[in-house]
């Protein structure tokens, strides 16, 4: 194939026309998720490292209850946010608002359940961050995750309010997509946290 034509450069126009690169926002949000994963990894490792190293109670097996309902809510919110996105793509704003609102309610239910759990642990079982290693690592890991949920909820609610006010949210499809990726990430982290805290650690 060593014909003379292989030695000719493709024309600059042709290179330019065929030049396609990934969207920078996509790369940015994926980098953010990667760096967040590293953060969670370290805190999870710390949790696992300190399982069973308590010098005094309360112990996880005595005080922890499975947050079944909250987990179902959080996991299904990943589904509802996808439904909301599909509606947005078809420009069906009513259905978008409905599914988006449900996503927010599910997230709020999760945070509410965490708040209840913490309230009970602190007031009834007298477990604080200073009580023992379980308290130290439990509040750190679950709290880190919960703060991510709150951060996500803040933006979910922001989008919801903007939409209610009549902002043309379909012009920001990419940003909505990135927000939903972040939300999926927070859900995925809960799979790990749930496994480590409520199954392995109990």
């Amino acid at each position: 194939m060593a014909s003379i034509t292989t030695h000719l450069p493709t024309s600059a126009d042709k290179i330019q026309r065929e030049w396609k690169l990934p969207d920078k926002g996509t790369v940015g949000i994926l980098s953010l998720i990667a760096t967040e994963s590293a953060l969670f990894t370290i805190v999870v490792v710390a949790y696992i490292y300190y399982i069973g190293k308590n010098l005094n109670g309360p112990y996880p097996k005595d005080v922890l209850e499975y947050p079944i309902l909250a987990s179902i809510c959080l996991f299904s919110s990943s589904g509802t946010i996808i439904m909301a996105e599909r509606a947005l793509h078809k420009l069906e704003m009513g259905r978008f608002k409905l599914w988006w609102g449900i996503t927010i309610l599910l997230g709020l239910e999760f945070i509410g359940a965490t708040a209840k759990e913490w309230y009970d642990l602190i007031t009834k079982d007298h477990l604080t961050v200073a009580t023992n290693m379980f308290g130290t690592t439990f509040y750190t890991l679950v709290g880190l995750h919960a703060s991510h949920v709150i951060f996500g909820l803040f933006f979910l609610i922001l989008v919801f309010l903007l939409t209610l006010k009549g902002f043309p949210i379909h012009t920001q499809m990419r940003r909505v997509l990135f927000l939903s990726w972040y939300w999926h990430f927070v859900d995925a982290v809960w799979v790990v946290v749930f496994t480590v805290v409520y199954i392995i650690g109990k």
Binding site: A12, Q16, P22, D23, V27, S31, L39, I42, V129, N132
Partner: protein, 559 residues
């Protein structure tokens, strides 16, 4: 955004007359990657001078035995602040500054992917540095006299717990670094997105200049390595202020977990810091040998290899902490393995020079010294990777000699070479060659006079971080030598600063391409206009400017 044609007579911002406040405002509010790059490197050099003065003070104290020039607790603060500043407020902003200025121009883009995030990154880094240094004034709390952190640059917990480290100085260390780490993350995300999404037409990944490749991989290491540091800093703060027990051995916490978490960050950090040096050398050596880099693909492969392996070697900093022999063996082996891709690089740089027509201008001189000194640093690194050997010399001056050969003999030399190489592009003026050569020779002599003797001091048992030593142990001569060397280094840095000031005022005009180089940054004017390129270039090979200069023999024929 591929090819917007700007009008040729587009007004260039720096040609306008500005009042001082307008000028200041324009620098504070800038989102231009070139200006942020200059700000990063300017503040890095300022921190470099401060930490250098601290080093000089410590060398003066250690020049003679039983010296009482500096009090012991002041000495502890000096080595803590020296190390912390050099790593987090000189090395890190050098990474961010060089990649900020050069990566977009080298890939043919008009700015970084997220310019405002970029500006945020710079300012939060700078405030981190100011926060750290404000401990000198308010470190004991507002009522106290004030003192800087004195816990060493890796601040082993539990020594940093409230019981052992009173006052607020440790918190200044923790928060200053935590905040600066956010800045590093912002700039790393930017570099990744710029390299992936903003390359000019025709610049495939493999055609990216090696400089860009190294900064690209460096950014990946940063986004994976900074979070462990952030996490353990947060745990430390919780221990100190919320009463948690992560590092509290009285309550079941671990005395060793901090070491693991810190070095999971700390060892990749070494590669984060050294990659700009590799990047600079990979650009300068080919241009000054008049040959394309030897083994481009191998260089890229070695870079990625180092990136991965760097996350699997951390515990070689902890051989003396009493790990199991399995961990000791694993980390000894992995640390030796990482010498392989690094060796590939050394061989390729040497092979690039082999048979080349060498021009011994100042940038090249610095790179040659880098090769020799970094090789020695690598060899002592392999020595230290052997567990039993490490047990003998750990926490002695041998280790100090080793990492100063990496950080000064390697990184500082290459970075200074890089400054001589790219200064004409940044400011449009050449740095003086005469002063440059004086700077170089003083620095080589001073550096080696300081740090070569420290290997022997280590063999002979002189522990690091002691503020003085008793006479009659055979350490006097070598310590005096090291101090004289430090003086010569200080002199050379003064020559360097004078060279910059002098050349900024009355340096020779550089022109667009003073070194007859091949990468895209030399196709635009010096200093580059705000928009970098009037027309986004289209490239066909890894040396686009060579193709342009040699239409009869372009690179794309062979790639």
């Amino acid at each position: 955004m591929a090819s917007i044609d700007y009008p040729l007579n587009h007004p260039v911002a720096h040609e306008k007359e500005f009042s001082f406040s307008e000028w200041l405002f324009s620098w504070i509010t800038t989102v231009d990657h070139k200006r942020l790059g200059i700000l990063y490197i300017g503040s890095a050099l300022a921190f470099f001078l401060i930490a250098g003065v601290m080093a000089a003070a410590m060398r003066l104290q250690l020049a003679v035995p039983d010296s009482h020039l500096i009090a012991p607790d002041t000495f502890n603060r000096l080595f803590t602040m020296h190390g912390t500043t050099m790593v987090f407020f000189f090395g890190m902003p050098i990474v961010a500054g060089m990649s900020n200025f050069l990566v977009p121009i080298m890939v043919g883009a008009r700015d970084m992917a997220f310019p405002r995030l970029n500006a945020f990154g710079f300012w939060i880094f700078l405030f981190g540095g100011i926060l750290l240094y404000s401990s000198y004034v308010i470190g004991d709390g507002l009522s106290g006299a004030g003192s800087a952190p004195d816990v060493g640059w890796f601040a082993y917990a539990p020594l940093t717990e409230r019981a052992f480290s009173r006052g607020a100085s440790t918190d200044f260390w923790t928060l200053g670094i935590l905040v600066a780490g956010l800045g590093s993350l912002a700039s790393a995300v930017n570099v990744i997105a710029t390299c992936i999404s903003l390359r000019c037409p025709g610049m495939t990944l493999i055609r990216m200049p090696l400089f860009v490749w190294l900064m690209f991989v460096d950014a990946f290491i940063i986004i994976m390595a900074i979070p462990p540091l952030t996490a353990c800093q947060a745990m430390l703060l919780m221990d100190r202020y919320l009463g948690s027990h992560f590092f509290d051995t009285q309550a079941g916490g671990s005395a060793i977990l901090w070491q693991h978490f810190f070095w999971i960050f700390g060892h990749p950090e070494v590669y984060i810091l050294v990659f700009p040096a590799f990047a600079t050398v990979s650009e300068i050596i080919p241009v000054f040998s008049r040959k394309p880099i030897f083994g481009r693909a191998a260089m890229v492969g070695a870079t990625i290899g180092i990136g991965f392996i760097s996350f699997g070697v951390w515990a070689h900093h902890m051989f003396s902490a009493g790990m199991t022999s399995v961990s000791n063996t694993f980390f000894a082996a992995s640390s030796m393995i990482i010498a392989v891709p690094t060796g590939v690089k050394i061989f390729n740089w040497t092979a690039t020079m082999y048979g080349g027509r060498l021009r011994l201008a100042t940038p090249m001189l610095f790179c040659l010294a880098f090769l020799f000194q970094f090789l020695i640093a690598g060899l002592t690194g392999v020595m230290l990777a052997m567990t039993p050997y490490d047990w003998q010399v750990t926490d002695t001056y041998f280790v100090v000699a080793h990492f100063h050969f990496v950080l000064v003999g390697g990184i500082a030399f290459a970075v200074m070479g890089g400054i001589y190489y790219w200064f004409p592009k940044v400011f449009g003026k050449m740095l003086s060659e005469k002063l440059g050569k004086l700077h170089f020779w003083l620095f080589v002599v001073g550096f080696n006079l300081t740090f070569v003797p420290m290997h022997w001091l280590g063999f002979w048992g002189m522990p690091r971080r002691t503020y003085t030593y008793a006479p009659g142990r055979g350490w006097e001569g070598l310590n005096m030598m090291a101090t004289i060397g430090a003086g010569i280094q200080a002199l050379s840095v003064l020559v360097f600063v004078w060279n910059i000031v002098h050349s900024l005022r009355s340096g020779a005009e550089a022109g667009d391409d003073p070194w007859d180089a091949w990468t895209l940054e030399w196709t635009t004017s010096s200093p580059p206009p705000e928009y970098n390129f009037e027309k986004i270039p289209v490239v066909r090979s890894s040396r686009p400017l060579w193709d342009l200069k040699h239409p009869q023999d372009p690179d794309w024929k062979y790639e």
